[in-house]
Symmetry: C2
Amino acid sequence: MTIDTSKVSIKTSLASCFGRNFQELEGANSFLEELSKHAQEIHINENCYIFKEKDPSDFIYIPISGVIMLERSTSKGSRHVFAFLFTGNLLGLSEFSFYTFSARALSNGTVVKINKQLIQSIFERYPAIAKRFHEFTNHVLNYILDQLFIMGQKSAHQRLAHFLLDMSNRIGHGTSKFYLPMSRQDIADYLGMSLETASRGFSSLKKKGMISIQNNYRITILDEEALHHFADD
Amino acid sequence: MTIDTSKVSIKTSLASCFGRNFQELEGANSFLEELSKHAQEIHINENCYIFKEKDPSDFIYIPISGVIMLERSTSKGSRHVFAFLFTGNLLGLSEFSFYTFSARALSNGTVVKINKQLIQSIFERYPAIAKRFHEFTNHVLNYILDQLFIMGQKSAHQRLAHFLLDMSNRIGHGTSKFYLPMSRQDIADYLGMSLETASRGFSSLKKKGMISIQNNYRITILDEEALHHFADD
DNA sequence: TATCCCCATTGACATTTATCAAGCAACCAA
DNA sequence: TTGGTTGCTTGATAAATGTCAATGGGGATA
């Protein structure tokens, strides 16, 4: 008897993605069991698309490692970045037939690809699982509303400060030192400003003594309280 | 034997809010039946709050008549407007314990107030109903993503053009003449600009021959194609 | 090591948008 | 009618942000 270690690893890494006490939900084990049977683990290379805008949305994806960026291109050749996804985020939960944005890997990494019909059939058999996923969607909705609020009310440099605090939480899990996996252009397109304004924002926060920058991508938050205060006006 | 006409009217007006073929879903009739027994119909006056930020979110609300505005105030005394809701929209679906924004009536009107526990118990008994509501949340999420895209990528006057086209669809159901139920300030706070910029936007679109304005609130779209083209860059 | 390339930064200037202030039109109350 | 109030528009100016262009630094490669 052999153990397929790759499948086992899917199961354990997924369980931690579905939130606190997931294993206690009715159907959780069957769900994980079916996932480890039918879900595919896919390696993705930096800058490759996982799916594109208008592709049929037949799968959901869960990043296991690496960073993913959600983007939509504009009529004028520029683009908007909706979000950066890390390990444990979910991707493609929408129940629409087509994606309304593209998903691109910012770094090499691994995602688990799950057929939506499989998810749907689990939902029908185990309402508790469906409810948990519904809660995820609600979380996302809340997060996006916060982002909308920031976009509507805050200045460019404040938005950048918000962004850095958010990244500190999500990448560094609250530590003050972290590594940004995206370029200045990516950040600018996420925050709705030009690359140059984003760059000036970094310089300004640095000059104010709130952050320090090593090597462009390695950031240290020197004065979190001041940064918070600045971000929130 | 008497008929409680107000209850009957709740049932019929609600059924149309839950989307196409709602009546065919398993549990739809029980759901509507329980709603007409337990849901309250509430009259709300212009400018009154239905709930406020940080209130416990124990109810969901469905506007039957009138217009509702969702807003969040900023630390500096200004505010952001997240959305305008009309008949048939749903409000308070979030599964969080507290509202993250306030809901205020823009005009006199009526809403149906439904206890969330009631909804929850229906969801547990009838997965098809839960699924339908989940689809609603997804719709909202998509709508907000579009709004985020517009906020990030479009100029102030373009955002106003988008707004007018959206209102034309939602208020006038696609007709070119409609009545705006909100002030210039409300619009400005929704689109993330100053009152004056919003006003200049109206004047500019008028001068370009895309719209005409009667009495500040009554708008006619004169050249929808041009307006679309301008809005989308 | 030297060179190239990619990206970030910085500067100068143009454009957009905010702010402050004045004027105007509709509406209401006396 | 008159006067006052409220909300919208318009103008002048300031501040924020975008655009174009030049500079600079780190990493890859020959």
